[in-house]
């Protein structure tokens, strides 16, 4: 299944850094997110977009992860050549990630 089925997401920007939250709709899916939505997978998913490091922060109270992606916005929001200079649309791209369902979801 796609990540979109179990999580929602929002992108924020600061300079050349983009952050993407991934929030489980249902707290029971938080372990799946922790296990499968790793920094490495996010970095690989954004090949050609994110040039720097991807760091993941965990927020168990919110059943959420926060990904902070360096060198992700074409040199920075205020100077980027990109149509979506803020990277607002990156969250939707991340929700396209494939997730192996847990035993309850099959």
């Amino acid at each position: 299944m796609k990540l979109r089925e179990i999580a929602h997401s929002r992108t924020g920007d600061k300079g050349n850094i983009s952050n993407i939250s991934v929030i489980a709709y249902d707290a029971k899916h938080y372990p799946l997110l922790r296990e499968q939505v790793t920094s490495e997978r996010v970095k690989a998913h954004f090949a050609g977009v994110v040039e720097g490091e991807v760091v993941r922060y965990e927020l168990p109270n919110l059943s959420a992860l926060n990904f902070v992606m360096a060198q992700a916005l074409g040199g920075g929001v205020t100077r980027s050549l990109a149509l979506d200079a803020h990277g607002k649309s990156l969250s939707s791209a991340l929700l396209d990630l494939d997730i192996e369902p847990g035993s309850d979801d099959k």
Binding site: R4, H8, S9, R10, G12, D13, K14, G15, N16, I17, N19, S21, I23, Y25, H45, F46, A47, G48, V49, Y57, L59, N61, L62, A64, N66, V68, G75, G76, V77, T78, R79, L81, A82, L83, D84, K88, S89, L90, A93
Partner: protein
Amino acid sequence: MRTIRIGSGAGYSGDRIEPAVELAEKGDIQYLVFECLGERTVALAQQARMKNPEGGYDPLLEERMRAVLPVCGAKGIKIVTNMGAANPEAAARRTAEIAKSLGLSSLKIAAIVGDDVLDACKDGDLPIMEFDGTIKQLGNRLLSANAYLGAEPMAEALIAGADIVITGRASDPALFLAPMIHAFGWAMDDWNLLGQGTVAGHLLECAGQITGGYFADPGYKDVPDLARLGFPIGEVGEDGSLVITKVKGSGGAVTARTCKEQLLYEVHDPRQYFQPDVVADFSQVTIEEIGPDRVRVSGGRGHQRTDTLKVSVGYVDSYIGEGQISYAGPGALARGRLALEIVRERLKLTGVASSELRFELVGVDSLHGAEVSSHANEPYEVRVRVAGRTENLREAVRIGNEVETLYTNGPAAGGGAWKSARDVVAVASVLLPRELAKPQVRFVGA
């Protein structure tokens, strides 16, 4: 326990006007905050002020003030805003004229000055955080340097009796923290209260982004009546307790989900959200729906503030030239790709000097590049887009020209060509020792 209600009347400079009027009329609020100053806006405003000494403040100041002042004046709702941009004193004078013309000449209006720290930054030749280099190395490309001020001067103005406080560069959450400090007398070293107050400010500062804006995804996250989106109200208690809500009957929705998304918006390490007044810690925050469009947010904490203030440095970065043209129907994708190849070769042949170029098809791969978008199907139409960075305007113009000439020199049936060339004012950051920024409160007519 004492409680205040703070309305968020704008989340960016061009935001909708009437939700703030709705908040003032029906929101039972005591404070109305307008956050209207983007990262680079103050640098552009500085250029405007250089052309006109009475300019350099937010272009929508007059429209917003005329819309809300009658009801705010009648109800005693205090206004806090960063619409002062590069010239808070001129914005305050203009607001006083508007108030007078509306028969509200008794309103006390204060400007906060001192965020302009260009001289201090030059003296210190501070290193730039985003790239190798210092302030001095920007030379005559340097336009402005403005420190993110904290809540203290704004709270001081409110305590001195201001009805309207107009600042320039200040941290966005601090615009909301100032009313809390004014109402409750929070100590400026009560880090946990300031941390929880920062959670409130951070959640409210983007206005509609917590009431269902920037959220809807049909079939997954549906939001009612976005055309009449209500802006948020923060109900804050003396002990920092917080409920996010909105005007009954307005569009949108306040739910645990909208609040979670906004809590993490533009946040890096949730344990360390750096603010001028506090280092806020969002990591223990809990979010709970307690009624329709009522969400309780608890557990924000804080640590001692740092010795530095973040400064936003505006500078002339480069020029960008751009051109676009559309192709449709059978073979649109192939003609679009051919068009891109032609422009790529033309820019080489004619020797256009650029340091960075993008060739893309809008509708196919413009947002996330060829790799991420590789499994997309053939679209009905595509829009060619070429953008390049140059050192001067003349070179930038040549990029758009090479797209436009596709009309008569490129693939069949290209339409709707468009081009632009512009200078790019960008921002970078430096950290300034806190004591070098000296904010002051100035009342109009004082």
